[in-house]
Symmetry: C2
Subunit: 322 residues, 2 copies
DNA sequence: TTGTACGCGTTATCAT
DNA sequence: ATGATAACGCGTACAA
């Protein structure tokens, strides 16, 4: 590997001169700088990031931590994050799994955006205490080194529940996310509040986990106890899709016998028959905002928690009470 | 930040002793080692990866380069890669975009898996020349530091074309990928060879780019010149989905008037009505194999190019000639 | 066990 | 005003 030392030798100047020249410092003559640049190119010089980062104590890299890489959920979100960090000369890398956590404390990245239920809050707080900067998208955490950019779950869930009620439904299932999920908890709360405001609603809760299979299982249960039209709020689209899958093996028809609404407006939802009603929000903006907040934290700017607004997408998966 | 120097001071030993102890070297008494470990924990010591990597000249991190983060295409593939690298104590990070290329030459990662048409072969060869290890999933490149793990495009495309012909179709459209795409080229070649073996096939090529919009445009063209049943081989599922989208706005029915087969068996395809016929392969295995090959390259083991086998998935999107 | 050179780039300080 | 010298960041591993 060629280092600045090699360049210095070749160009007949001091090591520091090479460093200054490569960094465009005005401390070097244009002439000398040009010569050094030429030599560097000739030797195929590439700076060793590890050496630079060791000295500068920053890497200009941001990490995004996800539970897994599956589903079409993350595309736009990550795209947004990348846009946000690139704009400020940072790079984005996506990581997943317990093992990869080390990248943060070992200073491999300058900060992290976390959307990973399995990343414990204790661990996050520990890192924050050590001075690492974090943005969380899936929980509430109070710490000067942590910023939150959360979905407006309550608004979304309220919209969904009101929509079902508006369409005349009086028997209302909710298929929840996993026990520990912040998003799930918030959405459930909002549903309950909405129902409390409307007399005569029958409310049944089915525990899910945000995966397709949970939706299928919930579908099975609902069909088993089927007595007449029912409405279901799957707390995310993934589970709604799972429920479609299961129902397609029965004679129960979505939008007629069972009315379903989801949350997230993932891409697959566009292709379901009938079109799944759901709650939409801009995943790209979410990503951009999250990365901007993180960079502010890193720069030491003032930051306040942010919220991502949502809207209702109607679909034929919810019809009037039959 | 606390460094081994702080630990050494606190524990009353030499810096090198600390380093040995932390790395579990037998050169240190169990007693001393225990004490040092205790001090390290007490001080919340975390090694600085940059310093270690600077010295060891390796990072134990592998990078996967993708064109973008969109679509449900990558999930299993990345999961497979992660499994593969984790098994050997490496971590995986996902990168996208021109900017992020720097991670490789700057030695931020020990090697890269590339599935990104926009990453030029010249650039890849340049890095390979500089000694960096690469696995490519989307092109053929001959270099001792580069290994290929490619789809068996020819087998897949042949299966697809033969399926359409078998079902009685004699007018055959192919919607291609972008001009530079290796996969697209290989698939087209195989289709042509298959057609050449069967007399009386009408063959029409429509240029696409592997995106949904190209499929929609191709659909438009096909409908415009529609005279009777036609079969279409979209060289990936994404475009097939785009074509479905467009056709759903017309009175042309998939599987009756137009018969469509795709390639990739992405998740969305399962939810199309009618079910899209396509070419399937294990994306997870592809990822595992790619990472294994890269690690072999890094270790300096012998490696040969690998191939991922494919199979036909029948679907109601292809019916008999009407 | 310990002292120390080393990996490589940055930058403050000093000499010309 | 230019540019050279050297300390520094932190962990590793050889020599003593």
């Amino acid at each position: 590997m060629v280092s600045i030392k090699d360049i210095a030798k070749q160009a007949g100047v001091a090591i520091s001169t090479v460093s200054y020249a490569l960094n465009g410092s005005p401390k070097v003559t244009e002439e000398t700088a040009a010569k050094i640049l030429a030599v560097a190119k000739e030797l195929n010089y590439v700076p060793n990031a590890n050496a630079r980062h060791l000295k500068k104590r920053e890497t200009k890299i941001i990490g995004a931590f996800l539970t897994d890489f599956s589903g079409s959920f993350y595309g736009d979100l990550l795209q947004g994050m990348k846009e946000g960090v690139n704009r400020s000369g940072y790079d984005l890398v996506i990581c997943s799994g317990q093992q990869a956590h080390r990248l943060l404390p070992q200073r491999f990245i300058d900060g992290a955006i976390v959307l990973d239920e399995t990343f414990s809050s204790e661990e996050l707080l520990k890192y924050a205490d050590l001075g690492h900067k974090l943005v969380v998208l899936d929980r509430e955490l109070s710490h000067p080194n942590i910023n939150q950019v959360l979905l407006d779950n309550k608004a979304g869930a309220t919209l969904a529940a009101e929509y079902l009620i508006e369409m005349g439904h009086r028997k209302l299932y909710v298929v929840t996310g996993p026990k520990g999920s912040f998003d799930s908890r918030q959405r459930m709360q909002a549903v309950k509040q909405t129902i409390d405001r409307t007399p005569g609603i029958e409310y049944i809760e089915i525990e899910g986990d945000f995966n397709k299979s949970a939706g299928a299982l919930a579908g099975l249960q609902i069909v088993k106890e089927y007595t007449g039209p029912a409405a279901v709020f799957c707390l995310n689209d993934e589970m709604a899709i799972g429920m479609y899958d299961y129902l397609s093996t029965t004679k129960i028809r979505v939008g007629k016998d069972i009315h379903i609404i989801g949350f997230d407006n993932i891409e697959v939802s566009h292709y379901t028959q009938p079109r799944l009603a759901t709650i939409d929000y801009s995943k790209r903006k979410w990503g951009v905002l999250a990365s901007e907040q993180l960079l502010k934290l890193i720069r030491g700017d003032e930051v306040e928690h942010e919220r991502i607004y949502v809207s209702l997408v109607r679909g034929e998966s919810v019809g009037p009470t039959g």
